[in-house]
């Protein structure tokens, strides 16, 4: 569904990648690997359209993304280094807004997702009182709610404890099985079976 063709990006006079092409089909999980500073985050942001300093073509179901931005955004879920959790609001309120940018959701669904991610009891605490890993979990709970086909996740495993890691891996597996696709960066070794790897080194 997502194809990149001869991507090339340079920052500060340093070529991060060149002639980078890949194809992400339905039901696939693609792990972007590379050492620190190799350009993983940059690549993901380019694919999302958050960064425009690149050359090459990115296509969504064969069409250039620029021609169908809304369509693309409607099926995209991006969680970056900064997870998009407002510190003042509670997890419930946060999700109510961030999910409602893409679809209608009921509070019940949100509460269920939060509980699933081990945040039962924290639904009504303001997010600045949550620990780093708990905030990450709030953001990740969107994965359970949002029906987006394409997940782009930038180091979603940082600050998660081992339960959290297992749970997230599970989720990725399920999403792929149900025909979605995942693009993920991490320094972890993922234990998913059909896992493709794109190395930037």
């Amino acid at each position: 569904m997502l194809t990149a063709n001869a991507l090339c990006c340079e920052r500060d006079d340093r070529i991060l990648f060149r002639h980078l092409s890949f194809e992400l089909g339905e039901g696939e999980v693609l792990q972007v690997q590379g050492s620190n500073g190799s350009g993983k985050t940059t690549l993901l942001r380019i694919l999302c359209g958050l960064n425009e300093g690149y050359q090459g073509a990115i296509r969504w179901y064969g069409e250039a993304i620029a021609d169908q931005v809304e369509n693309f955004f409607a099926s995209l879920l991006y969680i970056g280094h900064r997870v998009g959790v407002n510190k003042v609001l509670t997890p419930l309120e946060n999700l109510r807004w961030s999910c409602s940018l893409q679809q209608q959701v009921s509070d019940g669904a949100i509460l269920a997702a939060l509980a699933e991610f081990g945040l039962r009891g924290f639904e009504e605490s303001q997010c600045f009182t949550l620990s780093a890993g708990q905030q990450q979990r709030v953001a990740l709970a969107r994965l359970l709610i949002n029906p987006a086909r394409l997940w782009i996740l930038d180091e979603p495993f940082t600050t998660l404890d081992s339960d959290g890691v297992a749970q997230l891996e599970n989720l990725l597996r399920q999403h792929a099985q149900s025909g979605g696709s995942v693009l993920v960066t991490t320094h972890h070794k993922l234990s998913l079976s059909p896992l493709e790897i794109l190395s930037l080194d």
Binding site: C8, E10, I15, Q55
Partner: protein
Amino acid sequence: MLAALQFSSIGEFFQMGGYAFNVWTVYVLFLLFFFVNLYFPLIREKQIIRELKRRLIVRNEVPANKHD
């Protein structure tokens, strides 16, 4: 031509009919600005070329010909 000259002596010219300070400051400022604005870009150009050459020698990096 000379008949159109407005001043009969150098001294009178510098006095500018009592407005010496004002008239001359403006013209001096103008000349200063004029030369500074030509001089600095030229110096800067030399600096840049020197710096770029130095880098070229030091790193001797392979130029990636992305442009042109």
